[in-house]
């Protein structure tokens, strides 16, 4: 074992985990309010990266202006998806919504290529390429700052849910649709809001990631790592999303990096560690750390 590298891998894992947590947050928001698990979250993220690229490349905007404008686009995308794709399926079995988001991911994949091409692009860098050296630990400055922004975003959403009217409405709708409806909340509108917020979150993640690693269709794949995070944290829990995300990032990094034996490392256990972890969670505690327990005994 490369124990001397342990702090290094722990820190790298936490930083990557921050991105997973951000994607997980989007998944939780949608699931909490509308009981839909959004398999297209990664594709929304990718879309955001391409849109931001388009603003910088074709309109010549600065990266920060493009970032802001992309967030506006994200709201629209979220509302549109909810209205056109998911609302007709309210009341349908879970398979229908799962398939709908999977179909959506395919459409988004194609649409991105249709409008922006499949070439890899590069966004102007938001942060300089510099190391952050803390003792033996070397980190990328851009990843550290992106992590910081992700955490800031988290904080904002937590405050939003706790202290705003809309936040309260969303929590109410998450609790019980009928009850929320009967006290005068427009539940479909709340679904729309959840999708809009989730898209914003995804797209923030997308732009941050793309400014670090480039704009390409493969960006969508990263969301798959957020699935174990969500299940571990619990499908309905926002703090769960962040804990799950960080945990998955750390597990991946440690399992992938720590073994010293080259033959053992050649197995690339880091690639599947999140999924093995997910299976274990499903077997031991399917509701995750903070998920709602639905007791159903036969």
């Amino acid at each position: 074992m490369n124990w001397d590298l342990f702090p290094q891998f722990l820190a790298t894992g936490l930083l990557t985990g921050g991105i997973y947590a951000l994607i997980a947050l989007g998944l939780v928001l949608i699931y909490k309010s509308s009981r839909v698990f959004n398999f297209a979250q990664g594709h929304i993220l990718m879309l955001g990266a391409f849109v931001a690229w388009w603003f910088t490349e074709n309109l010549g905007w600065s990266i920060w202006l493009a970032f802001g404008a992309t967030i506006g686009v994200a709201v629209l995308v979220g509302l549109l998806i909810e209205r056109l794709a998911l609302r007709p399926l309210i009341g349908q079995p879970i398979l229908a919504t799962v398939m709908m988001t999977l179909a959506l991911s395919q459409v988004l994949q194609g649409a991105v290529i249709l409008f922006f091409g499949a070439n890899q692009r590069s966004l102007p860098m938001m942060f300089p390429l510099q190391p952050v050296i803390l003792g033996d630990v070397r980190l990328k400055l851009n990843l550290v700052l992106a992590f910081g922004m992700a955490m800031l975003g988290f904080l904002l959403f937590v405050l939003f849910f706790r202290y705003t009217r809309w936040g309260l409405a969303m929590r109410a709708a998450a609790e019980d649709h009928q009850l929320a409806q009967s006290v005068g909340l427009r539940v479909p509108r709340i679904f729309g809001l959840a999708w809009a917020i989730a898209s914003v979150v995804a797209i923030v993640g997308g732009v941050l990631l793309a400014s670090i690693s480039g704009v390409e269709t493969n960006l969508a794949i990263i969301a798959l790592k957020a699935f174990p995070a969500v299940l571990f944290g619990g499908l309905e829990s926002i703090p769960g999303a962040i804990i799950g995300g960080l945990t998955v990032g750390v597990i991946e990094s440690l399992v992938g990096g720590l073994p010293q034996d080259a033959a053992f490392r050649a197995l690339h256990l880091g690639d599947i560690a999140p999924y093995v972890f997910m299976l274990l969670v499903l077997l031991v505690r399917p509701d995750g750390l903070f998920g709602l327990k639905r007791i159903e005994r036969i």
């Binding site: 091409g117 499949a118 980190l139 990328k140 670090i212």
Partner: protein, 464 residues
Amino acid sequence: MNRIIVLIALVVLVASVLMACAPAPTPTPVPPTKAPEPTKAPQPTVAPTKAPEPTKAPEPTKAPEPTKAPEPTKPSLRTKANAGEKITLFHFGDITGPYAGITTPLVGGFTDGVKWLNGKGGIRGAEVTIEWADTAGKLENAISTYNRFREKKPLIIQLYGSAETEALRDRLAEDKIPVMTAGVSAKGSYPPGYVYAVVPIYSDQFGLFIDWLAANWSKVKPAKGQNPDTPTVAIVTWDTSYGLGALTDESKAYAEKKGVKVVAQERFTMGAPDVTTQILAAKKAGANVIYTNTLAHGPAQILKDAVSLGVRDEFLIAGDNWAMDLSMLALASTASEGFYGVLPNLYWDDTTHAGIKEIEAQFKANNRKPAEHSVGYLLAFAFVDAMRAYIEKTIDRVGFDALTGAAVNETMAASGELKVMDGVITLDFGKDKRAPSKARIVQVQKGKFVPVTDWLTAPDLRPK
């Protein structure tokens, strides 16, 4: 009841008629050695655009003996196309898959190359057409595309991916269709068959790099690298057929023989946003050289992460030929400075070279976008000209009427060195040689690929 039986009879009848009308009824599986019939359209009007073919008699009569008289024993050899005769060049697109960044401009280059070729009179007077399909990086699509192409008895196909080349290898030999491929893993090209690599195979490229490294170590070693006396290589690469193409048993043994240590092969997923773990593992393993068999995003991510970890001056970083492209430069921007690579072709920067000038002119004439000004466009253009050369040679040898994939393959297998477009790429095939061996080491200096060596010959590291 009767009505039903009549109905059934009708259905069966209609079905059998429909099937009988299906294209090209072949009663039994036909061995693919059959020559394709050239479309017989004996109109005496011949396309007047024949000027750039100097060796050709201007009369549109049959069997004009070319002045170089390839084989006098066969006087009836038809080396000139009948009016309306067409030759189709087949190629696979891979333009929505992971290699899209480099293969999308390939499609444009191929199209413009064929347009240019037709402007010059096609292939011995035959109009050149293109048939291609996007495989979206999915092998399943590649196979279904191949099934479709195969029925049309292609003379030659251009492939791009290592995975599909490796997959189709045996079937190409069975169907006797030669392919030129840009996915040049050793496993795809050897043992010699119908697969011709357009650049040195990845393991040979790595061998050439090792040669250069061993000979120039004192000059090029990184400023702050560890173990400064021995070049110590870690391969950091993609987890794909292509990515794993450089390090084979043969190339590893060769490196050891040359006194270069290969300490690790660290792999990462295509598109991974972070390869710091791999770079730090390479550092830990004692490496001072990182070699990568990836393109576009791959080398760019390694370079950027090396800079952002502050370890750039501890490593010499290098890559294979596909890394040496516009897409890498754009993605890595300033971090690309000092990156080495193996480059077997000329690049756009050779603005005085006749072949490059021609391609540049065509690029402008077709209003291509700056993003397409990549190695993909350049090479695909050259591929078209190489196909022309091989097909023309075959026509001179066997005539139009015996022009088959098998015949083109024979030509290619005996072709030796061919400088395509004055040497934009140089192909070199022989009886048991399926890939060229010459390349230069280039370095990125101020966003340009600057050769730091003369043409070197790669060691022969094909699998035993």
